[in-house]
């Protein structure tokens, strides 16, 4: 901020990285976001030739969000400390990323296999007002959230294949959204090298 003011005094326009980082406490209405997200889905729906491609496009959109959130949150909430262990980055996503973007921590984080972890959310914000017509079958717009996770993991150095799927939960009317992360072999090798 000081640099921005100094530049302004000299008559130069401060670039965006010289301006102070927003505190992240501002809000918009859920409706506004839902309409925006639905428009994003509609846009890709007309252009994609298959459900897989549609989910891929949503995931790509999410990756952009995730990659930027990692930078913002690392600076704002973690004093630029970098996560180098798998558990660390998973906790970061589970807690910091979810709390910032969706207002609460994720509901569960489980391990399925050595290389597969699953993050669960009972009512993902992006899926709140989405209803999938029959001709789109298996589509899960949580692919956007999967993209967010993928973006964070990729930029933090933990490349993974990430996808979203629904899981029925006993006693709950709407299914829970699970985000499956399958890590690349080099991530697991590095974990082994750094010690259990």
């Amino acid at each position: 901020a000081r640099r921005a003011r100094a530049m302004q005094r000299q008559g130069q326009t401060p670039s965006i990285v010289d301006r102070p980082l927003p505190k992240g406490r501002s809000e918009v209405s859920l409706s506004a976001f839902s309409f925006l997200f639905s428009e994003l889905v509609q846009y890709h729906r007309t252009r994609a030739s298959s459900i897989a491609e549609l989910e891929q496009k949503l995931s790509e959109a999410g990756e952009g969000v995730g990659s930027r959130m990692l930078e913002v949150l690392a600076h704002r909430e973690k004093s630029n400390r970098r996560e180098i262990r798998l558990q660390g980055i998973l906790q970061f996503i589970n807690t910091n990323v979810w709390r910032c973007l969706f207002g609460k921590v994720a509901d569960s984080l489980e391990i399925y296999n050595d290389d597969e972890y699953v993050l669960g959310d009972k009512s993902l914000v992006v899926n709140r007002y989405i209803s999938v017509p029959k001709d789109l079958g298996d589509l899960n717009c949580g692919a956007f959230a999967a993209g967010v996770v993928k973006g964070v993991l990729r930029d933090a150095g933990f490349p993974a294949e990430v996808s979203a799927y629904y899981a029925e939960v006993d006693g709950q009317r709407t299914p829970k959204t699970n985000i499956l992360m399958k890590f690349a072999p080099e991530v697991l090798e590095r974990e082994k090298r750094l010690g259990a």
Partner: protein, 214 residues
């Protein structure tokens, strides 16, 4: 104390809209307080992802991208008008000035928590400028690359916030008012000290179409 203040604002707004009094700022504030909210950064980054993808698909043809963003905004506006009418007790606007105030002071406030003011009205009150204090839900973190903001032709500059104009246009059209809407001052591609100013201009009333021949 916050809750008491919010409750007071809500009753005052309800009273002002019920009795037929016009206080759009209060109505907007009350509607904003009552609505469910999400983090603005989620909105900002999602919108950024959308613009990036549209630009990519249009292969950097800015004119096409601007048009697409406007169309998307228009579609959103046509749908969110229902949400707006359901959540506010808004009565029918009797003049374009009332319509513009409703859009800017109630609509923009309740959906995006945007503070703005209407100025520069022309003599027959068919055109005004909406000056925004800030457009953070759209432009926080955003810097438009030089290749999208250079050139003398206004059409070759990226209209990053065009979705907002499209939404205003779509919502108004859905209630029978056709307008022209675009940013005359855009801090992202022009002079940052001039802020964001949107021009809203009345074109014509939309006649109700009867679905059958009489």
């Amino acid at each position: 104390r916050e809750r008491a203040r919010a409750a007071r604002a809500a009753t005052m707004a309800a009273r002002s809209t019920r009795v037929g009094g016009r206080n759009p700022e209060l109505a907007g504030q009350a509607a904003w307080v009552a609505t469910e909210k999400v983090n603005a950064e989620l909105f900002t980054l999602t919108y950024g992802a959308l613009v990036r993808q549209v630009l990519h698909d249009c292969e950097d043809r800015v004119f096409e991208a601007n048009k697409k963003l406007d169309e998307m905004g228009h579609a959103m506006g046509c749908r969110l008008i229902e949400d707006f009418l359901a959540k506010t007790n808004a009565r029918k606007c009797l003049s374009f000035k009332e319509s513009a105030e409703t859009v800017a002071l109630v609509g923009f406030k309740m959906f995006l928590n945007l503070e703005c003011s209407l100025e520069n009205w022309n003599d027959d009150e068919t055109r005004c400028d909406v000056r925004f204090e800030h457009l953070d839900p759209f432009v926080a973190f955003v810097e438009v690359p030089d290749r999208y903001k250079s050139g003398d032709d206004e059409q070759s500059k990226l209209k990053y916030c065009q979705v907002l104009c499209g939404a205003a246009r779509g919502a108004l059209e859905s209630v029978g008012v056709r307008t022209e809407c675009h940013f005359v001052k855009d801090a992202l591609v022009g002079d940052p000290s001039e802020g964001f100013v949107m021009r809203l201009e009345f074109t014509e009333n939309v006649e109700d179409e009867y679905p059958f021949e009489d």
